[in-house]
Each structure stands twice: as C-alpha cells, then as structure tokens.
Amino acid sequence: MSTPTPEVEAVAPASTDTASPAYLLLPALLQAIAAGFGRTPGWPAIAAQVLMHLASWLEQSQISVSAYRELTEQLKTWVRDGRDPTQEDFAALLGRSNTAHAMLQAPATDPTPDTIGSDIPP
C-alpha cells in the first residue's frame, strides 16, 4: 500500500469522528424538507406567497421599528445624562401626533382601498 501524497491528503475528507451525528443529521433533514416541499403541487406559488408576505411584513415594520429605536435611544440618553424632556420635546411629539392622527382619521375620498371589505361583517 503506497503512502498518500500530500496533495491527496489535502483533499481527503475529514475523519468521521470530527463530525457529530447532529452535524450529519441537519443537512439530511433539510434536504428531506426541501424534497418534500418540491413535490408539493404548486410549490413555486406557495414560496412566492410566503416571500411576498415576508417582504410586506418587513416593509410594514420598517417605519415603526426605526421610530421605536429612535425613541428608545432618546430615553437612554436622557437617563444617562439625568435630564428631563423639555416643553419643546413634547411639542415636537404633539406635532407628529396631530399629523398622523389627521391622516389616520381622514374620511375615505375614493372607493379604493378603504371601502374594500367594509361591507364584510366583522
């Protein structure tokens, strides 16, 4: 039996004792799930719907997440500096609230999209 050359040894697979059974099971499990999903009729449509919902959810969350983070950081700064919000800080919030409130409470001006589903009983 010939001694393996360094090149051969370099590409030889690692011995099985370095990989735990969990490492070996995970890819197999994922492959099984993917294969099962691939056999489901209309899976591209399902995948597209899931992706669209995910994208929509992320997009919807984007604004509130960044504004919420900004508010949290503001509070952290004030707590660290031991200072209270001023009249101007509250006035700025009131301005934003009034704008959002007016947009939210404005009556629907066109038949879409506010009236879509409005006749569906709750």
């Binding site: 360094p6 370099a10 890819p27 508010l71 949290t72 609230s97 959002a100 939210l104 409470q105």
Partner: protein, 141 residues
C-alpha cells in the same frame, strides 16, 4: 510551488451543517437582543421621562397606522378598529401632554410640582395607548 502548510478544505457536508446552524444562532441572537432590550417606558426614571416615553410610543403607533393606511395596507374593518382605538387614545394622550405642561410650568417658576396629576394622567393614557397598540398589532396577524 507548494504551500508550506497543506490546507484541509472543509468537507461539503460540514458546510451543509454550518450554514443552518449559523442561521439558527443569528435568530437566537436576534430573539435575545429584542427580549433583553428595555422598552422606552421601562427605561424612564422620572415622571416626565415616563410621560414622554408613553406619548412617544403612542406617536409611533399612530404614525405606523397612518403609513399603513396611506399605502392601502390597512382598510375595512381593521382600519375602523384602529381608528376607534386612536380616537379613544388621542384625548387621553393630549391630556397627559397638558399635565406635563402644568408640571413644567410649576417647576419653571421655582415651585416643587406635585407629581400626582402627572402620574394619574400617565396611567389613564397608558391603558388607551396599549389598546391602540394591541389593535394595530392585531391587524398585522
């Protein structure tokens, strides 16, 4: 020219395990990061900071709802639910703002302000704002 130290490439099956494992670790980190971070109201240490944090959370909820409506993603019965919750919360949130004005004015003239009115206004607004946030969250499900 040969490399002085022969490198052993990571086996393919190991990459197959490492990628999902790293995704799970990132998810776990994100859950922990969100779970451990405090809310603005929880961070606040003075009555004024608490009032600002609460009103700020109200504004964030209102802006998110208005934005969803503008983009046609909030309509029909869910929109009506959010509008009703907002209509209920807005006067109480504005009353809280009035209480902070009184508090700040009393302090500005050198008097020690009574925190009772501010605390009561905060408590009243908190319930209504929580309802609005819950209503908004419900529309996303």
């Amino acid at each position: 020219m040969k490399h002085p130290i022969p490198t052993r490439p990571t086996p393919v099956f190991l990459w197959g395990a490492l990628i999902p494992l790293s995704i799970w670790l990132i998810c776990l980190w994100a859950i922990l990061a969100v779970g451990c971070s405090s809310t603005p109201v929880a961070l606040a240490q003075t009555p004024l900071q608490r009032a600002y944090a609460l009103y700020g959370e109200f504004v964030v909820a209102e802006e998110a709802a208005a934005d969803l409506r503008q983009r046609g993603l909030l309509y029909g019965a869910p929109l009506k639910g959010v509008q009703q919750a907002d209509a209920l919360a807005k006067p109480l949130a504005d009353a809280l703002l009035q209480a902070t004005r009184d508090y700040l004015q009393t302090r500005a003239v050198g008097n020690i302000p009574d925190t009772t009115a501010l605390t009561q206004a905060t408590e009243k607004a908190a319930t209504a704002i929580a309802l609005l946030a819950a209503q908004l969250e419900h529309t996303r499900q």
